[in-house]
Every structure is written in structure tokens, then in C-alpha cells.
């Protein structure tokens, strides 16, 4: 792969949770770690898929990487610029290069603006252009996202879901972005439209050499579009590696459970599988070792080994070969 475009090192983000009234009187606030020591890299022309269940911190990472949400600690370096150290004003020139596709289809679209004006705004944002040049660029963008020019006069509420998504993508391309954080770009779309958008994103990557941080809970789509996949559980990456290996040869028990939940089973096998009580990791009791242990079938099967709940030995990512890394004391065999 080409040189690294994005490097994330030991990223952390704590949110101050709203505590009860009594705790507020005592002046105590709880802090809940949304992202808890995450490191990864992204090369040019690469897609890194970020998967995990809701609340695992994947969206927060996307927002920190773009400098929308400040990090509590850690470093994000994009193309030599340390995002985490820049003030919002200094970030603005970088917006030309890094952009976001929002889960919400309406995110990019001011309800009172026509598609033409939405695109014009993005085109002229970082470049002063002649009217004819703006028109040329507009039609080029429409072409790139397969949108009919008749839609230019439409207001957002007159567009279908797929069209809204295309306008959102065109808008991101309009500023000239080459790195795009795609936050659940297909989850709000119909099945038949999802495939169109997945293809579109892949085509654009080939044609324009884009890099994606592809955040999604849809494992199948992630597996399909990503070169590498990182699996998150409660704020940490538990496994990262080439998409095919993570999906088909998972080494972390959680990854394996995630992907096996896709396998179509008519029986109640799945229910029996996880009949072990699915406890919930408690952030307020620090240092319980591996945070997946309370839900982990391997932990149960191995007779609850002490190391898994040893507060001093929370597993960290280690290389298990073939570009795959896993944070587990007892990684699954191949």
C-alpha cells in the first residue's frame, strides 16, 4: 500500500455523563470513556472498515479524526498535520481534503436550498470560480454520482433517499476531498439502493483515488467494501486485519460472534449459544481486565481463567500474523 495518509495513536475520549441529582450536589460527575486507547493507520486509496455495535465508539472516532469533536488525549495525524493539535480555524483549509458522509440523509441538505445552490456553495467554498466553470464542475459532479440534471432545481424534500445520498456525496466531492469518513452511508437506504451506493463509492475510489474510513454496523457491506476491517468493542479495537481474514478467520471471540450472527440459522442455536448471561461491562468499576470477558464464551469454556479479569492485564492488540492483530489472551485457533 501507499504511504500512510492517516495515523491515529492512543486516542481517548471521555464524555461527562449526567449523574443523578445527588451526585451533582456532591460535585461528582461520572466520566464514561467512549473511545479508550485506539490506534490505527490508513493508507492512501485504502478503505478501513470500522464495525461494532451501537455505543462502541466508532462514530466518535470518525468525528475526532475530522476534528469535529475534540479528543481527550491521543494524536490524529492526517497527511503530516496533527489534527488533534489544530484550532478550528486552522482546520478549515484541511477540510478541502477530508470530509464526512453523514448517516442522516438530510445532513448535507439545507431544507430551504435547491440542489443547485447546495452544490454551488460547496464548489465555490475553497476556490473562486467563474460562473461557467461552476456550471461545468456542477455537471461533472452530477455525472460522477449518476444524478440527472433535472434534479438541480429540486428541494431536498422532493428527492428520494438514494438521490439525497448522491447529492451528499457530490457535495463532499465538490470541495475536492480525498479522504472521506463515511458514517453508516447505507443504513438509511433501501436494499435495492444500498447496492447502488456501495458500487458508487467503490467506483469513485477507483476513479478519484479516495480513501475511506467506512463506519458501519452492517458487517456484510463492510466486508464487501473494506480492504482492512477494525472491530470495536466498548471503546477499544479488539481485532484488526485484512477484511477477508477478520470476517472468515476471526481470532477474537467477539468478532466471531458478530459474524456468526449473520449466518442464517432457523433453529434456536444462536439463543442457546449465548445462553450465558450477557453481563454488561461496568465502566465505573475500573480495571476488570478484558472488557469482553463477561460476554465471552471462551472465558466461560476455559473455566473463567483469572488473567481475563485481572485488572492489571487488559489484553492489548498483538500481531498474530498475516497482518492481523487481536486483543485477546486466548485468541481462537485458525
Amino acid at each position: 500500500m501507499a504511504r500512510p495518509l492517516l495515523e491515529v495513536t492512543d486516542l481517548r475520549k471521555q464524555y461527562q455523563a449526567r449523574a443523578g441529582m445527588l451526585a451533582a450536589l456532591h460535585g461528582r460527575t461520572r466520566s464514561v470513556p467512549a473511545v479508550d486507547g485506539v490506534s490505527f493507520g490508513l493508507s492512501e486509496h485504502e478503505t478501513l472498515g470500522l464495525v461494532g455495535e451501537s455505543g462502541c465508539g466508532k462514530t466518535t472516532i470518525g468525528r475526532i479524526v475530522l476534528g469535529v469533536t475534540p479528543a481527550s488525549s491521543g494524536r490524529v495525524v492526517f497527511d503530516g498535520h496533527e489534527i488533534t493539535a489544530l484550532r478550528p480555524r486552522a482546520l478549515r483549509p484541511l477540510r478541502k481534503q477530508m470530509q464526512m458522509i453523514f448517516q442522516d440523509l438530510d445532513a448535507a441538505l439545507n431544507p430551504r436550498m435547491r440542489v443547485r445552490d447546495i452544490l454551488r456553495e460547496a464548489i465555490t467554498l475553497h476556490h473562486r470560480l467563474e460562473q461557467t466553470e461552476v456550471a461545468r464542475r456542477t455537471s461533472e459532479l452530477l455525472d460522477q454520482v449518476n444524478l440527472k440534471s433535472a434534479k438541480l432545481a429540486s428541494f431536498p424534500h422532493e428527492l428520494s433517499g438514494g438521490e439525497k445520498r448522491r447529492v451528499g456525496i457530490a457535495r463532499v466531492l465538490a470541495v475536492g476531498a480525498r479522504f472521506i469518513v463515511a458514517d453508516e452511508p447505507t443504513s438509511a437506504l433501501d436494499v435495492s439502493i444500498q447496492a447502488q451506493i456501495v458500487n458508487l463509492l467503490r467506483d469513485l475510489q477507483t476513479r478519484l483515488g479516495l480513501s475511506y474510513l467506512f463506519i458501519s454496523h452492517d458487517l456484510e457491506v463492510v466486508e464487501l467494501v473494506s480492504h482492512r476491517v477494525a472491530v470495536m468493542y466498548l471503546g477499544r479495537i479488539v481485532e484488526i486485519g485484512p477484511a477477508e481474514r477478520v470476517a472468515r478467520a476471526s481470532r477474537h471471540p467477539y468478532t466471531s460472534i458478530l459474524w456468526s450472527s449473520l449466518v442464517e440459522k432457523r433453529s434456536d442455536e444462536v439463543a442457546r449459544n449465548g445462553a450465558a448471561a450477557w453481563g454488561v461491562f461496568d465502566f465505573e468499576r475500573p480495571g476488570q481486565g478484558c472488557r469482553f470477558a463477561p460476554r465471552c464464551p471462551v472465558y466461560e469454556a476455559a473455566g473463567r481463567p483469572a488473567i481475563c479479569t485481572d485488572p492489571t492485564s487488559e489484553p492489548t492488540l498483538r500481531d498474530v500474523g498475516d497482518g492481523q492483530s487481536v486483543a485477546c489472551h486466548f485468541p481462537l485457533a485458525r
Binding site: A107, A108, N110, V172
Partner: protein, 243 residues
């Protein structure tokens, strides 16, 4: 029984009906009446300014004090025999500058602190801030001042400001009238609707009701007009679906 009828022709090629056509009959009537009033007020203002009046508003006709409406004096005369219609038209002058000024000031203050409009705009901003398109505009790289001026104020609050201005105009007329009626506003012999009502009220119970009733009806009709216009525009420009 409520009837719903589909119009003919291809729906796809049919552009969305204008908001005016989609509005209900009551809204259309309200706006129509409001526009009529605004038009009348504007015409009267011009007529008053250039002095193109049925009669001289300050000429006293001692032979015809409190004369009833009729030929010569369309709305009759007041206690000094002055032509009421002419005085009504000239009276508009008293509103215009103070009225516009009040609206302009409240608009300017509205963004920083004056209670009514400010709280409406602030509410709208609060509402829009949760909308993701504002965040998306931020991520796109738009400076904050552009986001506030263009995306929030211009695109989403402009109708609100027009509506508020219209309602504010009605408000201003009411305030001026009250002041003049109490004797604090425009002073005799200069005509204003407020002091005309006040002066005419002295003769009301002597059977001479027109000197006060004519300006009172003018006030009622005008304020009603501005309010109906503001209200109608509110429903026309700020439909629930757009929020």
C-alpha cells in the same frame, strides 16, 4: 363528506403547486385582505405626502361643525369643521416614520436582546442547531459567520423576519394610537388617528358618532389587516412540514 380530486396530467412533470395555490381558502383571504390594507395605507401615505387630498385637512368650516357624511365631505367633518377623510389620509404620515423606525429597531435588537422577536429567532436557532445540516456545513469548511448569516438567518429565518415585521407594524400603529389618544403622541392641529378618536369621542354621546368612529374603524381595519397578513404569511411560509 370531504372531496379529494386528482388533477390530470403527469404528476412527475407537474411542478409543485405554488404555496399560494396550496394554501387554504381562509389563509388566502387573510393574506389578500392584509395586502389590500397595506396597499391602501401605502397609497394614502403617498397621497398625504404630495398633498393630493379631497380637501385641505386644516381648513376649518365653521358653518359645518360635526357635519354628517355626505356630499362634499365623504366622511363628514369634525368639531372644527375639518374634512375627516382628508385628516385620516394625512394621519397616516404620523405612523409611517415612527412605525418603520420601531420595527427596524426591534429587528436590530431582536438578534441581540429585545424580547419578543429575539426569543423567536433564538428558538429557531436552537432548533436548527440540532439539525445535522448545520454540522455538515461546519464540516464542509464553511466559516461560522457564513453558517449563521446564510444557513440560519437567510434561508431559515427570513420568512420569520418578514412575518415579525408585519406583526410589528400593526403593533406600532396600536402604540402610536394609544399615545395620541392619551394626549402624549401627535398634537393638534396635526392629524393622527389617535387624537382624532380622542377629539371625536367628546361628541360621541351627542349623536355625532362619525368623527370618532371613522378613525376608530380605520385603526381596527388596519391593525387587523397587518395581523391577518402576518398570520397568513406565517402559515404560508413556515409550513409545519418544512420544519
Amino acid at each position: 363528506m370531504r372531496r379529494y380530486r386528482e388533477s390530470t396530467g403527469e404528476v412527475a412533470e407537474r411542478s409543485e403547486r405554488s404555496r399560494w395555490r396550496a394554501a387554504t381558502l381562509t389563509d388566502r383571504a387573510a393574506i389578500g385582505y392584509g395586502l389590500l390594507v397595506v396597499g391602501l395605507v401605502a397609497v394614502s401615505y403617498v397621497l398625504g405626502a404630495v398633498g393630493w387630498l379631497p380637501d385641505d385637512p386644516s381648513r376649518m368650516d365653521m358653518a359645518r361643525l360635526n357635519a354628517p357624511p355626505g356630499a362634499g365631505h365623504l366622511l363628514g367633518t369634525d368639531f372644527l369643521g375639518r374634512d375627516i377623510l382628508s385628516r385620516l389620509i394625512v394621519g397616516i404620515q404620523a405612523y409611517f416614520l415612527p412605525g418603520l423606525l420601531a420595527v427596524a429597531i426591534s429587528l436590530a435588537l431582536g438578534i441581540t436582546g429585545a424580547p419578543a422577536i429575539a426569543s423567536i429567532i433564538a428558538g429557531k436557532i436552537q432548533f436548527l442547531r440540532q439539525k445535522s445540516f448545520i454540522e455538515a456545513a461546519h464540516v464542509l469548511g464553511l466559516p461560522t459567520r457564513v453558517i449563521v448569516a446564510k444557513h440560519i438567518l437567510w434561508y431559515n429565518c427570513a420568512p420569520l423576519l418578514i412575518i415579525q415585521a408585519t406583526l410589528g407594524m400593526g403593533e406600532a400603529i396600536l402604540v402610536e394610537t394609544s399615545l395620541s389618544y392619551l394626549g402624549f403622541g401627535v398634537q393638534e392641529p396635526t392629524a393622527s388617528w389617535g387624537n382624532m378618536v380622542q377629539a371625536g369621542a367628546n361628541y360621541f354621546f351627542h349623536g355625532k358618532f362619525w368623527p370618532s368612529t371613522a378613525p376608530a374603524l380605520a385603526i381596527l381595519g388596519t391593525i387587523l389587516g397587518f395581523h391577518l397578513l402576518g398570520d397568513g404569511l406565517n402559515r404560508l411560509l413556515e409550513p409545519k412540514s418544512a420544519s
